[in-house]
Amino acid sequence: MGLKKYLATRGITMFGVLMVTLLLTIILVGSNMDIILKQGITFQVRAEITGDPKISDSFSDPAEFEAFVQDQIEQRVKALGLDTPWYSPQRIGLTMYKILILDFGHATFLTSDSGSSDVKDILLEKLPRTILLFTTATIIISIIGIFLGALAGSKVGSAVDRITSTFAVVSSSFPVWWIGMLMIFLFSFVYQIFPARATPSIPPTDPGYIAALLYHMALPVITIVMIGFGAWAYLVRNFMIGIMQEDFISAKRAMGISQKKIIYGHAIKNAAPPIITILALSLSGSLGGAIITEAVFDWPGMGRLYFEAITVMDLPVIIGATYVLTLFFLISILVADLLYGYFDPRVKTGS
C-alpha cells in the first residue's frame, strides 16, 4: 500500500467517523431540543400577547382568543422550521451541511464571556484555554515520564524502578478529579497558596489577565501532572526494557560506550516511535477528560462549556463542541499513525 492510498483510506474513514458522531449527537439530542424550543416559543408568545392589553381586549370570546394564540405559536414554529420533525432528512441534512462549512449557528442559551452568542465565537474563546492547560500538563508529564522511565528501565529491580512501578500502578487508579478536590483542600484551605476556583476574577481585557490565568492554572496543572506521570514513566520503562535487551545495545556496551550515553543517546531514540504515538494520543485523550477536570477546578474551557451546554440542552453548542472534540481526537490518531509510520517504515508498507 502506498502512502497516498493509505492517507486516502484513513481520510475517508475519519470523515465517516466524524459524520457518524455528529449524526448520533443530533439523533440523541434532537427530540429533546425540539420540545424545549417549542415550549420556549409558547411561553414567549403568551407573554407577549397577555402583556399587551390591546390584543386581549379586542377579543370577546375566550375560545377565539385561544385560537389566535395557537395560530401565533404555529406561525413562529413554522418560521424556525420546527414544524417538520427533527428527524426529517431536510433538517438533519441542513444541520450537517452547515457544520461541514463550519457554520455552527447561534447558541440558544449560552454566550461567550464577551457576550456573543455565535457558537464559533464561544468555541474560539474556550478552546485556547483548554489547550493551554492540558498541553502544558501533558508536556510536563512526558518530560518527567521519559526521564524517570528511562532511569527505571535501565536499572530494572532497583529502588527507583520499584518506586516508579508501584507509583504508576497506584496513581492510575486514583480519579484525577478527586485528587483535584484534595489539592483544593490542601492548597486553598489548609495552606492558602492557590485559589480554589481556577477562573480568574479579573476581566480578560485587563493587562494582568495572562498572569492571573497562569496563577490560577497552577493547581490544575500540578494535579494533572501528579496523576499522569507515573503511568508515562511505566510505559517508557517497559519500552526501554525491551530495547535494552536488543543486540545492538549489547554491541554498544561491548564497544565500551558509557551506560548514560547508551540510554539517552541510543535506547531512547529507538523507543521514540511508540512514545511519540502515545504523546499524540494522550494530548487528544486529555481533551476528552477535560470535562470532569474542568468541572472540579472551574476552569473556563471547552470541558466546562460542554457540560453547561448539555445541562441546558443547548444543541448548537453541543454539536459544535462534539465536532471540535471529535476532530481533535481523529487528527491526533492520524498524526500518531503517520508519525509511527515515519519512524518505523515497516508499518507503512503494510508488512
Binding site: 449527537t25 440523541l28 439530542v29 497506584v170 480519579p175 483542600f185 476528552g288 448539555i310 445541562t311
Partner: protein, 455 residues
Amino acid sequence: MSSVSASEIKKEFLKSKMGIAGIGILVILIAISIGAAVIIPVETFQQWNNPQNWIFYPKTAIPSWINLFMFEKIPEHKILDEPSVSTISLDEISGVSHQFHVNYVYDDFPSDFIYEFTAKYSGSPLLQISVIRPDGSNIKLLSASLPNTDDLVMHNEKIFSTDGTIKKNLFLQSDKFDFSIEGFSAEDIVFSKSTDNVVLKGDYVFLVNLYGVQKENSIVDSTLIVGGKAFGIMGTDELRRDLAVGILWGTPLALFIGIAVAIGSVVMGLVYGVYAGFKGKLTDESMMRFNDVIYALPVLPFLIILAVTISNSIFLMIGFLTIFGWVGIAKVSRSMALQIKTRGYVEASKMMGQKNSKIIFKHILPQLLPYAFASIAISVPAAITTEAGLSFLGLGDPSFPTWGQILHDANTHGAAARGLWWWIVPPGLMIAITGLAFVFLGNALDVIVNPKLKR
C-alpha cells in the same frame, strides 16, 4: 500466545505479591458489602435523598473518633430514643415518666436540643420537662398542657431548645446562676456551671413527665436529641446525611457496576473479535471498520449525552459503559483468533466438517480464557472511575448513593474549600482502593498470560 493451564495460573498467581494483595483487598470489600447489607437496612439507603429521613442528624458533623486526638473534646451529637420508663400514680392522678441519661464530657456547649414525642391521650394532660444536673440542681424547662380533646388521639410534637416558654422558665430560675443568664441560649444555660458560663461536665438526666387523670395516657415514641458537631464514624454532610451509610452502601454498588461492565464488555469483545478473525475476508474487514468507528467516538461526551437524553438509571448506565468498553478487547482477540486459526487442530476440525460455531466455542474461545480473565480484572477500575466521574458531574442514578454522587454533593457544597475533609477523603479513597484491587489482580494475571512481561 501459549496456552496456560488453570493449575499453572493458580501456582503462578499465588507467587505474585500483587495478586495476593489484590485478592486481599477484594475480600475485604466483599465483606464490607455483605456487612452493609446486613447492618444497614435497605430502607435507610433508599431514603438517602429524602431530607425528612435525616432531620435529627447534625449538619456537616466531623467524625466523632476525632475526639480521641483532640485536647478540647468536640460535643458529640446524641440521638437518644430509648429512655427508661416508669409510671407515676398519685391518688387519681396518673402518668408516665421518661428519663434520658446524658453523659456530657465535652468542652463546648451543644448546638441545641430537641425533644420529639408522640403521645396517646384524651383530656388535657400536663407535660413537664426538667433537667437534673450533675451538681444536683433541678431546672424546670417546660410545663404545658397538651391540646384538649375528648377522644383518644395521637399527638406528635417537637420541642426545640429555642422555644420561647423554655426561655421564660429559665429566666424565672435565674437565681440558680451566679451570672446574668440574659442573652444566653437555652443550651448554653442548661449545660453551664452555676458560677460562670463554662461547660459543666457530668451526668445529666432529662425528665419528661406526662400527668393526667385518665389511665390510658402514654408516650408512645420519645426521642431526645442533644445537638453536637461530631457524629458517627464517618460524620455527616451538609444535608445531614450519615456518610457511613452512603460509603458502606457504595461498596456493593461500585463492585456491581465495575464487574458487570467488565464482564459485559469482555464477553462482547471476545465474541466479536473471534468471529471477525475466524471468518476473515470481507466479514473481518467490515467488522473491523465498524470497530474503528466506535473506537474513534469520544467516550465521555457521548456517555454524558446518553445519560442526559435517555436515562441515568444505573442499569442503562452499565449498558452504555459496555458499549464503549468492548472495542479494544475485540481488536486483541481478533488478532489472537487469527493466530489460533492457523494451528493444525483447528484446520483439522474444519476439514472434518465441524460447524463454525462449534470450532469457535470448543477450540478458539477456551484458548483465550486466561486473556479474558486478565482483561476483566483490568477493565473493572476504568468502569468504576468512569461511572464515578459521571456521578460526580451529577448524572448518576439518584435512587442509589454511589461514591461519585457523594463527591458530587461535596463539590457542589464547596466541601474542599471549606475544609470538610471527612466528606471528600473516604469516598475517593474507596474508589481508589477498589480500583487498586482490580489493577493488582489484572497485573498479576497479565504477567502470567503474557510471559513477555515477566522479568
